[in-house]
């Protein structure tokens, strides 16, 4: 089984930029920045690669902590940092190209920071109602559509 060796070093908010600059000086390429939220802790991984050697820096923060941007070192980080800001609501200061929450247009603000929605079908009310109606009353399938549609639209308007 092919398994790469992957090292993960933890860094703090204070020494993040200096550690990243060190990687830059050693000739590493920024591969990605990825965030994840586990309980109340945001885990931000900064991945670097040099000649197929893969290393990571990991930053663990809590809600409300402001993360310094690394776009001063790696300009290309702007796309990842804006994405993290838009999806998780982590505030990152001094991004070189700051979209101010408009890079990824989502209907819900910070969708990845909201508690897990357990019912998938509830997310699309108009359609699932339709399907439920059609599934429950197989005989009146053709009638189900015109009936449920206005209801769903009303609900949307209310919301």
């Amino acid at each position: 089984m092919h398994k790469e060796e992957q090292t993960i070093t933890e860094v703090g908010v204070d020494n993040l930029v200096s550690e990243v600059s060190k990687m830059y000086d050693e000739g590493y390429r920024l591969v990605q920045i990825g965030c994840g939220k586990y309980d109340d802790i945001f885990e931000i991984n900064y991945s670097f690669d040099k000649d197929c050697k893969f290393v990571n820096l990991r930053l663990k923060i809590t809600e409300g902590v402001v993360v310094p941007s690394i776009t001063g070192v790696y300009l290309c980080a702007f796309i990842y940092e804006n994405e993290i800001h838009d999806l998780f609501g982590v505030s990152i200061k001094d991004i070189a190209i700051d979209f101010k929450g408009n890079l990824i247009r989502t209907s819900v603000k910070n969708p990845f920071n909201t508690p897990t929605v357990t019912k998938v079908k509830a997310a699309k009310p108009a359609k699932s109602e339709n399907a439920a109606a059609a599934g429950a009353k197989p005989d009146v399938k053709s009638d189900a559509k015109p009936d449920t549609k206005p209801d769903a639209e009303k609900k949307k308007e209310e919301a």
Binding site: A131, G135, A136, P138, K141, A144, K145
Partner: protein, 128 residues
């Protein structure tokens, strides 16, 4: 070179038969292993609901009480996951695509299972 680099291809294409087929006058290409629409042998189905749990698109609804198995043809992504998770081998995949659905038609196909036979039902009641 330069300007006439495609001459060879042009000449070849002149004498070859067309790469396209005259669909729908000619039937579309279909292979034995093509992933087409899902079908169910409803008599084998025990309405356990495993297929609907494993459906990545939430296209399948199983109603144990009413003994119905329904599939939303527009949501189905023909991944064959339901067939692989079926313990009774009731679901299978064909290599035929579902016909296009036009406005006004329903996109949900409902299959009604046979009502439970008297004997096992009575046995269940006793057990309960």
């Amino acid at each position: 070179m330069g300007l006439f680099s495609m001459t060879k291809t042009v000449l070849k294409s002149l004498f070859k038969k067309p790469a396209t087929i005259r669909y729908p006058a000619e039937p579309a290409k279909r292979f034995e292993g093509t992933r087409g629409q899902m079908e169910i042998d409803i008599d084998k189905c025990i309405f356990c609901g495993l297929c609907s749990k494993h459906c990545p698109a939430d296209a399948i609804t199983v109603n144990k009480n009413e003994r119905t198995w329904s599939i939303n043809r527009l949501w189905c992504i023909c991944c064959n996951s339901c067939a692989e998770n079926c313990n009774k081998d009731a679901i299978y995949q064909t290599n035929v695509y579902h016909a296009p659905i036009v406005a006004g038609e329903t996109d949900v196909d409902v299959y009604q299972g046979k009502p439970v036979e008297e004997k096992p039902a009575a046995a269940e009641e006793k057990a309960a």
